[in-house]
Structure formats: structure tokens, C-alpha cells
Subunit: 534 residues, 2 copies
């Protein structure tokens, strides 16, 4: 063994095996929180008093409700708070996001069971000027899937069918309401994999994934949904059903309309079905976790991994020491490495031959240890250890949630400067006298982690309590910092309500103008997800 | 050695080494043909008398030419056949496609050197109602890049810069006129690869590749340009410069405008620059070529290859015996295998470890031979042999060109029925008394080959001479056959002029209506590539 301090879990001794104690995190993906009325957050309209209800939109009446009941039939498909005040508690989960940051005043939730029902609903809403918010699993971070005022929520969760799967080509057709993990488990039984994976997989729906162009953990390997989506069925604001549900890998017959709906956050149509090109599931998976002394070394490790692991590299994730200390503090689990390092990386490989992959990964780890790029590392020995190591990355969001409020920024920055934003933000908050270990300071910690392979940083500012000075310290500073480096103020979570007004930091006036033109072209009355996006 | 009749080139004996004799094909990728005036094909307007010049468009005058000279400065950037009749021969190559199938009547070719020049040209054309045809390497198959009447050709060949390359992220920014092979060779020097490869790589330009959403040989591995394009700079009909030249892998800030230009064949704007996500170049490459007894066995081999070769599989190409007999007849090269089989497949693997890849490929070949899926096979031993084997696939188009006219159909069909179209077409042409070995029959052969991995068939009907009955026998039969199976009438070559009127076989009225709406939205005067696409 030529590795200096490289050790396996197997030799880590008997006490507090990570695999067992970290297990709790494997179910820690974000889910909508159950809140009691007393815990309810402020209404979005109170938090953002500048946003006014568009008076063009009609208020909901019992006649509207009766019409929708006529369309949808089943009682459970309509949650009516218009004529029945006692339904307010049932509606609350559809009004609020899981972070407890946004809260709308919707009084009617519709759960269509078919594309035709979505079409009838939208046609009626368009004719009668009723605003709507399409909603999937409601796991977004930017307030895109909850109403601001009294928009009708059109929840797609009943349209959750796995419609068909071609075992030769790998083309999967699903309803928009199909939960990502359900689709992935179905595919696993067929030897295939969904090309997207993310923390909220147990709750998020594929229609929402497409509408937000979700990125997640497998983008490094399988690319974006713009590449892996073969076709989409969607309904436009006026009820027109757009059947572009192609199942072919190649089809160059006219404009690629489906692309317009991907990442549009339900503002130009509601996605009802999708056809996805799914890759074959790899037989072998390995995960390594290591500590590094500097961000310069993280970059070196990434370059070496791309070169040496190449086609089997399926994730390269970054975590800073603050994020790992936090997960350790919350979970009380034993840290994967004995020493502390400023940075940690998690590498995952997926391939068809376990021996070949282990040999490549072993050679890579030996090489980066010998060159002094990596200071210490550990390699998961089985599926349980793989999950345990992933929990140190995937558990960060939940651990942060345990400590109080968090300002979350999901951004893209050219790789060389990716971590600098965390340092600059921390220095700024510190200089403003807002950061400290004791209760008098509103900010507890500034934390950075993310998808190194995609230059996608999750910057998190963990706070003890709401303090207006913190937000003023962070914004627009962070957006301006990103603009200077031609980064993106929203890498994978979209614009929603949170970033609507900041799009100018990542897009120029011409492109924003074109977007507004497209919005008007497709939804001239503006009934689809108003007050958000562009 | 457990393989039954498996042999390597190295043991094939001294006579007629394939590697040497097949070399000529490595430069046989399609290029614009040089034609003498006597060889000139019929004008498109004569071949298609139903297409009339749009009288809204102004005829070109010497004042127009003077304006463009004022913008473009350099004499060589303007080829003027308006005021100078002797320029007709210089203009001819821009009027004709390389297959000699379409011929326009353009009298003015403009070769802008910058995005600003493209902008000024288009603004003037839009203001003065002058129709234009954007043109790249002019290597298309459907007449999309040549004029029909007197449209101005805007040729992008001078905008061929490699603008920048990020060696950490793999993001490449190029001018639209950059030749694909030039970009790929540049990337090779940096250890990267262009995610697209196709027969015309020595002539085609990246702007044209994007505008036609070219598929080609690497799509199986690296996906479509909709996934690998990070950003685009384009100019709209009215001269507006759209700078959406993002270099980030993730940027979810508004509609993904760049997607609109990919595959739009220059009908909503002219692409001037592009940013492409390039993968690292694999260190090892292997190519195997084998013969199979049925299309059922081809499908089995494909399924086994996807499973066993998985992440290293980079091409799975199909050729029928007719196509291979033809290449042999034209090149006089020795066939790769001794026996004849109804089908042949070429498999390419690309990976980071030559030993691992060889082991996987060897095990795969042994397995498919033992199972009786593959009847005979050979494996290239070096780079020269790799090129030689590829020549049997890539040389088909050129070999066909040597024999006379060809009706070419580039289509997608669900994999199970992919080859059935060749058999049904052959039976139909035969039943019509049009197919035979002697000169009295207009059709020489019906040939099928293509990208098995993408269910993309190239159906070719090789003719001895033009005979109206052949086209009547083929169309709309082939399109109707494809429509029944929900295939695509244009897998990777676009619509152009050839398939403009057939789009209804692959797209429904609603989506076609939306496309027309988008066209009008972006190019209200219709000056961009009129008479084509939708």
C-alpha cells in the first residue's frame, strides 16, 4: 500500500460506525413541512408589499367552483376554500413552500386527472381571467410553485402514471405528476436509470423537474434535461394541447418546441407528460471521500479526476469544513476522516465493470495522494457505506434547517473563482459585525458546498434570527459579485419569486426583452404563474 | 481463443491489406462539388415550378450593392453579380448544393467578418425587404443552405475564429464559420473532443451544424447539440444582436432562448458564435466490425453492447450487404470479413484505459460469438485499421455518388422496425418493375445503413437515371410508412426545401401552427431563408 494515510472504513474500528449512524440522513431529502397555524409564516404579500394583486384577474366565485367540480367530477380533485371556509387547513400545504418562506392566499386547489381536464381548466381560466399556479411536488427554493395572492393552484400529483417504457431504446413516458424516485425505482427494475437525481427525489415530480430544468447530482454524467428530454405534452394558457411527445432520439422536423417548456417554470404552459431518454444503469458504483488543504488542490483533484476517471466519473461534489462540522454537530455521527481539512470532496464513479472501476479509482487516489493533492481519503466498501458518505453531502441542507433561518444562494461561477464567493461573503458579513459564535450575532456561519463538476456553488448563510441588516449586507452584493464574473444568479433552482427582480444580473436587456415577448406570445392574458419569473 | 471464426487483421495474410487500400476513403467526406457550366443542374425554380418568387421582396439594385460594400469594406467580402455579370461563375458554388440537386439564382454573396456586420446587413435587408439565405459549409442534404431565387447569400465562412477555450471546464467558444474538423483538431491538442462528428466534418461549419441540429456519429455517446450547447450569439432579422453566449453548464435564469436557434435552419436568426461543452478526449479507442445473419441478431447485438460496453460504447453503426458490396465495387478494397452476411455492424469504444476497454470489448465479442448472435468479426489493431474499418461505413455515401442519382431518406424509426423500411421499399420498387441489374431498370439498388444507436436509418435508392416513376413509387409511400410508426421523416438533416411540404407526416397541426407563430414572431417580414422549413 503506497497511500500515505489512506484508510478504508473496514479498518476504522468498532465505535460509532458511520454507516449505521448516518443512515437517518438517507431519508432527509426536503419534504413539505407540516406546520401548525401558529407557526405559519408571513403572507408573501406582507413580506413583499410592493407586489400588488393584478386587478385584471377575477375574484373566485362559487360559480367558478361549480364549473370546476363539473369538469373534475371526483370530490377529492377539488379543494374548495371559496364556498367552504373550513377547507383552509387543507389548502395551507398548497399555499406554502417547504422552507416556510413564502405563503399565498389561494382558496381553490384543482387536481386534474388527465391532460383533457387540464385543458378544460385552462381554457375556462383564460376565458374568465382567473390566474393559476401550476404545482408539482412543491419542493422548489424560489417560491415558484406557490401562489402570491388568490391564484388557483393546479396540482399535477394525480397525473403520476408511468405511461410506457421501451426496454430497447430506453425511452420513458411519464405523467408530469410522477415522483422522480418512483420513476427511478421503476427504471432500476428494468436496468435503467433516470438521468436526473436530486435531494428532493422522494417528493419532487418530473413535471416540476422539467419546469425548473432541475440540475442535480447526475448532470456531470448525463447532461441537462434539455438534452435528455425527447418529448413533452403541455397545455397552453388557452387550453390548447401541444402534443410534442416524441420518443425518438433524433427528429429534426421544425422548431424544437419542447425546449420552450423546459425551465419556463409554468409560465408559458403546463407540462402534462414527458418522454425521457434514460441511460442504462451502471452495474458498479464506487464512492470516495477525501480531505484537501486548499481550493487550488480541489481544482487539481477535479482536473485529475476528469482525466483519469473520465467516462466512469458520475459525481464530483465539494463541501467545506463548516458544512461538515455542521452535519457532524447535528447528526452526532463520526466524521469520515480523522483529521480536519478546509475542503472535502466526494467522488462517485459508475461503470459496467466493478474490477475496472475499482482499479481506475484506486490508481487515481494513489496518484492524487502521492502528488500531495489530496491529504486523506476513504473509500466506501459497500452500498451502506456509499449511502453514509453521500449523507455527508446530501445532509447539509437538512442540518442547516435545524439551526434557524438560512439565506440560500444557488449560483454558477467560473470554476477558478467558485469558492472565493464564500470567502468574500464571510469577510463582508464579519466586517459588518454580523458574524459570531454568540447569540448577539445574527449570522452563525457562512457555508459553501455544491456540484464542483458543474461549477455550481450552494452558498448558505446560516442565521440565528431574522435581521434586516443581514439581507442588506448580502444583497445586491452577491449578485453584483456574480455579474462581474459572468456567473449565473440561479444555477439550477430557477427564478420564481425570489430572483425575478435580479435576472438583470445574469441576462442582458435584449434577452430579457425577447423572453417577455415570448411570454406574451404564448400567454397574452398572463394567467400562468403571474408575479414571478420574468 | 474461444471465438469460433474470429480473426484479426494481423493474421489476414499479405495480399491487399485493407488499411492501405481503404485509406482513400478517409478523405472522402462530402464536399461541395466543382461543376463546369455544362454540368450545371436544373434551377430549383424549374424543378419545382409551383414555388413562386415572393413578389414582396425587392429586386437587388446597384444601390443595395454599394451599401453592402460600404459595410463590408474588403472587396473579397462581396461577390457581386448584380453589377458585374462576369462574377456569375464565382457565385455558382454558393447557388448550388454539393449533391447537384438544387440550384438558386442568387446574384450577391456577402461574407461578413463580424457579428456587427451581420447585424448591419440584416437590418438593411429587413428595412428594404431583401430576402437572405444564411450559409455555412453548404454540406446539407435538403437544400436548406442555397437560394431558390435571388435571395442574398450571407456566407459565414470568414467568421471562423476559435474565440476562447477553458481547459478546466471544457467550454469552447467559436465563430459560426469555424469548420468542425478545425475545432476538433484544436480540441485534440488540448485533450478534448468536439461532441459532434459527421462525414462532412472537413467542410461543414459549426454554425451550420447548430442550425441543422446535426446528429452524426457521436450522438449515442455525447447526446444532441441541444444538450451540449452552452450558449449562442445570433442576429435576428431586424439586426438585433442576441448575446446569449453563456459559458456555464448551469444557468436557470429565464427561457433558454438559445434552443430556438438550434435546428431552426436560419429561419429565425443567424447564429454568429456558439459556446459548446466539450468532453475530455478518450485515451483509448477500439473499433470492431462484424457480420450478422439477421436484423433480429443486430438488435440483440445492440442490446448486449449497451449492457456490456455501456459507458465506453461510442458508436454502433449498421450497414447492409448491399451497401458493403457497393463500397467494395467502387473502391476495389478487400472486404473486412471473408464471408458475406445480410448485415454488418461497426462498434466503436472510447475510454480512458486501453487495457480495460480491450478486455470489455474482447469479452463482449466472445460472448456474442458464443451465443451465435454474431457470425464473424474483426478488430482493428491500430489507428490505421480503425480508419480503414470506418471507411466501410463512411464511404457508403461517396460510393453511391459514383453510380448515378440517389434518392436519400434520413429517417428515425422505432428500432424494432428500422430495417423493415428498406425491405418494404425494395419490394415495392421491385413490384413496380423498376428494380433490376440491367440498364432497362431505372433503380440499381435499395440500400440501408445508419446510426443503429439512435434508430436513425439512411435509406438510399440508387438509380441509373432520372425517372419520374421512381419518385412516384417512393413518395409519399415512405413518408406514410414512417408516419404509421410515429417515426421522423428527418432524423438529422432538417427540412430545408426537400421536406418542407412533408412536415405533416411527423408533426401535428397544432405544433406546426405554433412553429409558424414563432417564425412570424421573430421574423415578421419573412426575409430569413424563405421558401423553406415550415
Amino acid at each position: 500500500m503506497r497511500l500515505r494515510s489512506y484508510r478504508n472504513f473496514g479498518s476504522a474500528g468498532p465505535e460509532a460506525p458511520l454507516a449505521a449512524t448516518a443512515r437517518c440522513f438517507s431519508s432527509s431529502r426536503p419534504r413539505p413541512l407540516q406546520q401548525t397555524p401558529s407557526q405559519r409564516v408571513k403572507l408573501t404579500s406582507e413580506t413583499y408589499p410592493d407586489i400588488k394583486r393584478d386587478s385584471r384577474f377575477s375574484p373566485l366565485t362559487k360559480e367558478h367552483v361549480a364549473y370546476f367540480r363539473g369538469i373534475l367530477g371526483s370530490d377529492s380533485a377539488v379543494i374548495d376554500g371559496v364556498t367552504n371556509e373550513s377547507a383552509a387547513d387543507d389548502i395551507e400545504p398548497f399555499n406554502s413552500d417547504w422552507m416556510g418562506k413564502y405563503r399565498g392566499q389561494c382558496k381553490l386547489v384543482l387536481k386534474p386527472g388527465s391532460t383533457e381536464e387540464v385543458s378544460k381548466i385552462l381554457k375556462y381560466c383564460n376565458d374568465n381571467l382567473l390566474a393559476v399556479v401550476p404545482q408539482g411536488g412543491n419542493t422548489g427554493l424560489v417560491g415558484g410553485s406557490v401562489p402570491v395572492f388568490d391564484e388557483i393552484v393546479i396540482n399535477l400529483s394525480r397525473m403520476n402514471q408511468i405511461v410506457e417504457f421501451d426496454e430497447v431504446s430506453g425511452a420513458l413516458v411519464v405523467g408530469a405528476g410522477c415522483i422522480l424516485e418512483v420513476a427511478d425505482q421503476f427504471l432500476a427494475s428494468k436496468g435503467y436509470i433516470f438521468p436526473l437525481d436530486l435531494g428532493a427525489k422522494g417528493s419532487c415530480q418530473i413535471g416540476g423537474n422539467l419546469s425548473t430544468n432541475a440540475g442535480g447530482l447526475r448532470l456531470l454524467r448525463y447532461g441537462s434535461l434539455h438534452g435528455s428530454t425527447l418529448g413533452i405534452e403541455a397545455v397552453l394558457a388557452d387550453g390548447t394541447i401541444v402534443d410534442d411527445l416524441c420518443k425518438l432520439r433524433k427528429n429534426n422536423t421544425g422548431y424544437d418546441l419542447k425546449q420552450l417548456f423546459i425551465g419556463a417554470e409554468g409560465t408559458i404552459g403546463i407540462i402534462t407528460k414527458a418522454s425521457i431518454q434514460c441511460p442504462q444503469r451502471s452495474a458498479a458504483q464506487n464512492v470516495a471521500f477525501f480531505g484537501l488543504e486548499s481550493f487550488e488542490k480541489v481544482q487539481q483533484a477535479f482536473r485529475e479526476a476528469k482525466g483519469q476517471l473520465s467516462e466512469i466519473l458520475s459525481a464530483f461534489e465539494l463541501m467545506d469544513e463548516s458544512s461538515q462540522a455542521l452535519v457532524g454537530e447535528v447528526t452526532k455521527n463520526r466524521r469520515p476522516l480523522e483529521g480536519k481539512y478546509p475542503f472535502y470532496c466526494l467522488i462517485e464513479t459508475s461503470g459496467s465493470n466493478a474490477d475496472h472501476d475499482s482499479e481506475k479509482l484506486g490508481a487515481f487516489l494513489e496518484d492524487v495522494m502521492e502528488k500531495g493533492i489530496v491529504s486523506d481519503g476513504t473509500l466506501a466498501q459497500d452500498e451502506t457505506q456509499i449511502k453514509a458518505l453521500w449523507a455527508w453531502r446530501e445532509g447539509i441542507a437538512e442540518a442547516l434547517g435545524h439551526l434557524g433561518g438560512v439565506y440560500k444562494y444557488d449560483v454558477s461561477i467560473p470554476l477558478q473563482e467558485m469558492y472565493q464567493l464564500v470567502e468574500d461573503t464571510k469577510a463582508r458579513v464579519d466586517a459588518a459585525g454580523l458574524l459570531g459564535d454568540t447569540d448577539e450575532y445574527p449570522v452563525r456561519e457562512v457555508i459553501g458546498y455544491g456540484h464542483m463538476g458543474d461549477a455550481n456553488l450552494h452558498l448558505n448563510v446560516s442565521t440565528r434570527r431574522f435581521d434586516k441588516r443581514v439581507e442588506q449586507c448580502l444583497e445586491p452584493f452577491i449578485y453584483e459579485w456574480i455579474e462581474k464574473r459572468q456567473g449565473s444568479i440561479s444555477a439550477e433552482h430557477g427564478l420564481g419569486l425570489q430572483k425575478k427582480n435580479y435576472i438583470g444580473y445574469s441576462r442582458n436587456a435584449t434577452t430579457i426583452g425577447l423572453m417577455k415577448g415570448l411570454k406574451t406570445h404564448f400567454d397574452p392574458k398572463g394567467i400562468l404563474n403571474p408575479y414571478k419569473y420574468i
